[in-house]
Every structure is written in C-alpha cells, then in structure tokens.
Symmetry: none
Subunit: 197 residues, 4 copies
DNA sequence: CATGAATGAGGGTTCATTCAT
DNA sequence: GATGAATGAACCCTCATTCAT
C-alpha cells in the first residue's frame, strides 16, 4: 500500500495539475477558468483531475498548500547581521513586497474573501506562519510579546494594503514601487510624528 | 424627458434594487447570488431589474457608486481642534477602521480583484477620493507633498490590511479591534524604533 | 359610433405603425425586431401598438393587407396596345421583377413559409389577385382557360424563383437582372426547343 | 487523434442529432423548436448537442450539408437515352418537383431568407451544384453557354416558384401536381407563343 | 489509473404583452 | 386613446462532475 514510487508518481501528477491550474487561474481568474482549460493546459483528460482533487475549489486549496511549502523553502537566508532596526524593517518590507506572481495572488485573495473554507486555510497555512516568522524576525528587540504581535500585524497589514493599491493601479504606489521599502521603513522606524513636527 | 417626479420614481426603484442586491450579495456573495434572489428580495419581477441595470455586474457598480455618495455625505464632521498629531492619526484610524458592512466590502474586494472594469471604478470613485481626503487631513503639518502622499498610502494601506486580517479572523486583530486605533496610532507617530530602542 | 374623423385618425395611426413596422422588419427581420423597435421608430409607446393590432404577427398581416391595396392602386396603366405577344410577356416580366422593397419581401416570404395563418392570407390577398390579374392580361389570346391558368402560374412561379435566386446572390441572375425580362420573354415565347433545334 | 472507430461514433451521433433536429424543425419550425425538443426526440441530454454543434443555427447548417450529400447520392441514374428534348425537360421537371420532405424545405427556405450565413451556404452547397448539374444535363444541345446558364436558372426558378405555390396551397397547382411536369414541359419546349397565336 | 463523452441543473437575459395611471 | 413600467415565462447555452470503457 505504501509504495514510495507510487507516491512520487501521484505527487508528480498532482503538481502537474496544480501547475496548470495556477497558470490558467492567474491568467483568466478562478470562475472563468473551466476544468477543461486546466486539463488541456496540463495535457490530460478532464476526468483525470478528479482522480487527484475533489473538485475545482480543491485545486485552489492545493495551490495554497503548495505556496506554503514553497514559501518555507524559498525563505531567503536571514543575513546573520542585519545591523540596526531600520535595516531589519527594510529587509522585511523588501522581501514581503517582492511577491512574485501577483496575478495568482489576486485570484487567491478574491476567492478567499468569498469562500470561508479557503479563508480558513489561507489564514492557517499562509497568514499565520508568515506572521509567526515575522514575529521571530522582530523578536529579541525587547518588545513585550503582545506589542510585538500587534506590530507585526500592523506592518504586514500595510504590506498587504500596499500590494492591493499596486494591483489597483494607484500611480504613486506603482511609480515608486522599488523605493517603497526604503522610504516606508524610514517612516515606520522613526515615526511619522518626527517627520511632521 | 425631464420629469422630476419620474426621476424620483426611477431613483427610488434603482435604490430599491440596489438595496436588495447589496443585501443578498453580502449574504451569499456575488456569483452564488442569482438575479431571481435579488428580485425576490426586492419584491419585484426578474425582468424589472433589467429595466434599470444593464446586467448583473452593473448592480455591483451601482452599489459602489452609491457607496461613494454615502461616504461623502456620512463624512464625520472634522473636529475643529484635533489637538496634537497623535490625536489626528487616532481619529483617522478610528474612522477608517469603523467600516460598516464588512460583508459587502468583502464581496466588492473579491470581485474587484478579478474584474478590471470594477477595479477602475473602485479606484476612481472610492480609493482615490478617500486618499485625497486623507491627504487634506494630514496636510498642513509641514510635510513635503510627495512624502505626504506616500504617508497617506502607507497608512490607508495598513487600514485595508488590518481589515482583511479581521475578515480572515486573526485572533489578535479581532480581539483588540476596538483598541487598535489607539495603539496603532501610538506606534505610527512615535515610530517603532523608539519602542525597540 | 361611425365618426368618419375618428376613422381617419385610426387609419392614420395604423398606417404610421405599419410604416414603422415595415421599415424595421425590412431592416432587421421579423424575429429580431422587437415591439420596442417599432414603437420607437414610430415615435409612440409600446402599448399603443396593441391598441391597433392584436399582436406582433398582426403587424405583418397588416403590412400584407396594405401591400394588396397599394398593389392595386399602383397597378401601372396597361398600355392600350402592347403589340404582339412577345411584348406583352416582356411587359409582364418587367413589372413583376421590378419588385421594390425586396428586403421586406424576403421577410414576408420567410415568415409565411412557417406561419400557416400568414400563408393563407398571402395566398388570398397577394398571390390569388396577382394571378387573376395576370390571367386577365394574358386572356383573350385564344387559350383554353385551364391552359391559361397553368401558364400564368408557371410564369409567375418563374418570376418568384428568379427573385429568390437574386436574393441568394446567384451571380448570373444578379449581373443580368436588367436584361432578364427581355431574354426570358424570348425564351418563353418561342420556346426553348427552338433555340436548341 | 485519427481513430476511425471514434470517427464513426462521432458521425453516428451527429446524424442522430441531425435526424432529430430535421424531424422537429419540419414539424414545428426553426424558432419554435427548442434545444430541449431536439434532445428529447434524440433521446439524449441537452448539453450533448453542444458537444457536436456550435449552436442552434449550426444544426440547420448541418442539415443543409447532409442534404447536399444525400442529393448527390440519390441522384437518379440518368436514362441512357432521354430521347428528344421534350423528354429531357420533362425528366428534369419530374425529378426537381419530386422534392421529398417539403416541410423541411419550408423551414430551410424560411430561415435562409433571413440568415445571410445560411443563405450563402445554401447557395454554395445546394443551389450552385444543382444548377451546374442542370447545366450539364441541358448542355450539348447547341446552346451558347451564356444562354444555357440563363435557361437553367429560368427553369429551376420556375420549379422553385411552383413548389412555393404548392406550399401556399394554390388549388390548380395542387390539383394538377402530378401532370405538371408533362404540361409545363410542353409549354417550355414549344413556347407559349405557339399555343397562343 | 486515464479517458472524454454524456449529463442536466442552473442562470442570465430577452421581450411580447398587460394594465394602472 | 396613450403611456411605459412591470411582468415572468421561456430559452439558449455553460460547465462541473460522473462513469463506462
């Protein structure tokens, strides 16, 4: 029953399908994409997909699941010395804003807003781990734990909001996208109060 | 052609339909909602909806349009004296996070991510004006204009991100929702660097 | 009850509607044309049409009815002396092929093939009178009555068939449309056997 | 891709659907017929039809296409010796007027008058070949080619016109339908002029 | 396990017709 | 008689899912 080769074949086929699904979803969106689209893009038959996934939504869930795994693996090696706090924040912003595959992100967000099941999975497999990682990153700076958790949520919330403004096409955000980490870090670290008075 | 009573009747019927649509959309989501659902909820016939709106998407556009009008009218009177900067930021965060009708917001965001036409309208009728209002609020504090615009985007981005974490059910954000404006304002104004020292 | 002015008003309104209907039918066809189209083109309200006509089909019937009246009135004055038989046939073919308003004819034919009620009316109000008129035209040439009736049907059938080939876009028929009466008359009168020898 | 058995299955299913469509169209007409009607009559599901045909109109096109194929196959063997010209004409008229399936012919004509795409197809796949065949039939009788082509169009036009008068229920045409080929041939060959003077 | 034809429920939309004003 | 908003039945078509081969 536990045939490792079988398992690998299954995993390979699952990935093949998820690749196709991710590609087509990113291109056309979740609802406009048909199972036939995905099957054709994967070079297999419609029915085969249902041997590996419960239904269309499960494909999105599978994509999310893979995202997490990839995110963990791709986690850039934390520089041994990030220097001062300003550098740390900038490093985080850079990494977070450098989301590749924005168009797929859009689809995931869209469907998540509307599908509780997906929402929970996103929360558990993406958001939660991400936040925890960020907490680790910013920990050991002497912040009380509760303050730290809030801080992390505020910053990553800002990241998400900026990405959405980017998607929306806000000209300032789009135009200054590359210098954003630097400038936002400045604002965050020193506080906007200082800039003002 | 220009019968004011006719116009009022038309506007009333449009609003009746949009009310129903907003309600059902918020309840079931955009795609799962059928025209029949909306018509039934509005107490009219299916076809009547098409006397007032081009198609199903136009209903969402109409809801967005009304949101803008309402937002302008409901704009809370700016306190004559907001006192120091910290108070101003807290005031803004409070107003912004107090989004009512989260479930409808969810639907709009969801569909917007996926429908360019809707995205443009959201950008133009909601996001852009909101940002400009915020710019006015934070202006006259001696910030260079470019810096100001960035600041505003960063903050409102944070707001949007926190709302999404709220929707996602992040326990810390949900639990501390009411004290969030105060604490976030503190972080923003004084900078997170200070907290860390 | 018999108010002649009322009658005239009613007739005028009926004609106004039929004009619009004929125009739009000829332009878009019967099924694709909506009552709204006709009403708009006539400058009246949808409902008004139903004060004068039972339903959409009755409009086509009304058009047919008017065609007959017009056909009778427009009947070109028969030249006092048509000369020989050849001239007579050519004259008839010319008149018959010079159908104006082919596009409306198309619509009528189309719907007639499919609507028995309309078919009967066409037969009675258009075809029958036309054939009788043709019989009168060709009478007094010494043909036995039965032979005459057959002859008339054969010729007018040929006319109808040629018009349809014209509609279908047969290149020879289209290109030689104007010289057709002359040449066809030649064939008919002398017989195709003679040409072959 | 090139599985002959698959191809046969596909062809069989297509024919099954076209049979049903032709039957129901002939019975109820094109527009009044619903896809459900056809599916039910074919004993399959609605959706299956769309696996084989683009849309409802394509069914009519398919019927036309098949008509051509059948027409070619059913072409009656030309008698080796048709004898004199009179016999030839009578033979042609007989074959042409013996259209079976008048009710389907009605539907096709009707829709063709109104649908340019269908019209072109009819012209190319039915009318044109039919005319060419007739040209071959009447050729080699010493007629100049242009005269021949006109003659063929006149005669086949007459056939079409007579069929339509038959459909319309003209009593003379209906009553003498069987003797028509003979009598019309007589008229055509010898010319109507001879009968008259 | 792969295939892909068959399924059939479901939904957006149209539009002839009605009728209260 | 004129209006045109309201009606709602009806239809074409899509597509996720199933299952016999």
């Amino acid at each position: 029953m536990k045939d490792p080769i079988q398992d690998q074949l299954i995993a390979a086929r699952r990935n093949q399908i998820l690749d196709a699904a991710a590609h087509v979803f990113a291109d056309k969106g979740f609802h406009p994409t048909t199972i036939k689209d995905i099957a054709r893009h994967a070079g297999i038959a419609d029915g085969t997909i249902y041997n590996y996934f419960e239904n269309k939504t499960a494909l999105l869930m599978g994509i999310l699941e893979r995202m997490r795994e990839q995110a963990i693996q791709q986690m850039p090696p934390l520089p041994t010395d990030l220097g001062d706090f300003h550098n740390l924040v900038r490093f985080y912003l850079q990494a977070a804003l450098q989301q590749q595959n924005t168009s797929l992100f859009r689809i995931v967000i869209s469907e998540m807003m509307v599908n509780p099941e997906l929402r929970v999975q996103y929360q558990q497999t993406i958001l939660e781990p991400t936040l925890q990682m960020a907490e680790m990153l910013f920990a050991e700076r002497g912040l009380p734990p509760d303050e730290l958790r809030l801080l992390v949520r505020a910053i990553s919330g800002m990241v998400m909001g900026l990405i959405m403004q980017h998607i929306m096409g806000d000209s300032l955000v789009v135009d200054h996208w590359d210098t954003l980490p630097d400038r936002i870090a400045e604002l965050l670290v020193n506080g906007i109060g200082r800039a003002v008075s």
